[in-house]
Amino acid sequence: MHRFANPTRFLRIAAVVQPWVAWITVTLFAVGLYMAFFTAPADYQQGESVRIMYVHVPAAWMGMFCYAAMAVASAVALVWKHPLADVAAKASAPTGAAFTFLALATGSLWGKPMWGTWWVWDARLTSMLILFFLYIGYMALQGAFDDRARGAKASAVLALVGAVNLPIIKFSVDWWNTLHQPSSVIKMGGPSIHPSMLWPLLILAVAFKGYYVWVLLVRIRQELTANKVRILQLRQVHGG
């Protein structure tokens, strides 16, 4: 891991890897979306609107995956002071927040035809909403300091506190939900899901992860370049 701590070496590798990741992502999206829209059957109960699932479920997975990635990167940054981990954690947050929002929005659109309402206080929806708030808090804390290094450190601590708390929040929201409205929620497709629906779902889930890696590489490179520009500007100001 520390082999990649050197930003120059990282940039060299990233420049090679990035086009590959991009092509794999685009191919997987094309295949997955084709399968989702054309080969997967419509649900016998939910009709065509079941196809929202192929965006909604991978987006929800992405929202949680990004938070986990952010927490791991923050731990690495705090413990080993790894210079790229800070940047990686910072770069993961907006992607995670965007996909959490996407999951909430598609869930709401799916809820209207299925449950007859835009929003229900379903345990999963509620925990995603709280996850979204945690992302917002993380990004707000990061931007709240004049000294960028302090913002990075403070938000790393927050990401870890949030990671410890998330399972507790998830558990208590599940508890709260079963207490308030038992079994009014339609569960997705029952316990088993037919392979013709499972495959596009899995392919799209991998495509989403590919997109994450792609955007992560772009954002890390952009951040490193921005740092260079800032240093050059400072040198110009001080060097006269």
Partner: protein
């Protein structure tokens, strides 16, 4: 241990000499709850239905509002740097400061709660459970809040930011605090809810001082 009690005594002294601060928290608590009958109407059944939730949400907000002064003044006058350099671990200092904070805010809230329970027509069955739940829940709020208060030291708009960071983390306490009271009113068993609240408190006492101390260290660096 002596250092711990000295720190608690120091913070209590400071709080008493500034006087009005904990009274203002109590005043906020009362006013926030009193607003609800105006919002939903004075009908006793409605009030009884929302009493536990209202009192808990107001307690959450009141305890959050008082967090800012937990570390802020020490940060501004430089005492915090001396505490970080002192031979006692910063985690113990945090523990002491949070204890003092709870004694000056959580305890007054606990004392005021019965009055509000009467105003909100809370059924008699829920009365003692509400007190027990608040006694177990408010220390957790202070401990979790201390992490947030330490993180926002020296930031722009710390107050608003603090609410964004801390309120999502308060949700488990709110859920179990309210469900304990509702269980008591509905003649269900109360014990598991209180046990979970106690568990949350023990977890918070054990874990959050580390996070707060880490946040304080990077603040005074």
């Amino acid at each position: 241990m002596g250092a711990f009690f000295n720190m608690v005594r120091r913070d209590l002294n400071l709080a008493f000499r500034q006087g009005m601060d904990s009274l203002m928290v109590v005043a906020f608590f009362v006013i926030a709850v009193v607003l609800f009958p105006f919002g939903v109407g004075p009908e006793p059944n409605t009030l009884a239905r929302i009493a536990a939730g209202t009192i808990w949400v107001a307690a959450l907000l009141a305890s959050m509002l008082s967090l800012e002064r937990l570390f802020q003044t020490d940060y501004e006058d430089g005492s915090l740097e001396l505490m970080a350099l002192a031979p006692i671990p910063l985690e113990v200092t945090v523990l002491a400061k949070v204890t003092a904070h709870w004694l000056t805010t959580g305890l007054p809230l606990l004392v005021t709660a019965p009055l509000l329970a009467v105003l909100m027509q809370l059924p008699d069955d829920g009365f003692w459970v509400l007190m027990a739940a608040l006694a177990l829940g408010t220390p957790t709020l202070s401990f979790i809040g201390a992490v947030g208060a330490a993180l926002v030291l020296g930031s722009r708009r710390g107050g608003v930011l603090l609410s964004l960071l801390v309120l999502p983390l308060y949700i488990p306490v709110l859920i179990f605090g309210v469900s304990a009271v509702e269980a008591a009113i509905g003649d269900l068993t109360v014990r598991p809810h209180l046990l979970i609240l106690a568990g949350l408190m023990v977890g918070a006492v054990a874990l959050t001082p580390w996070a707060s101390a880490a946040a304080l260290r990077q603040a005074v660096e």
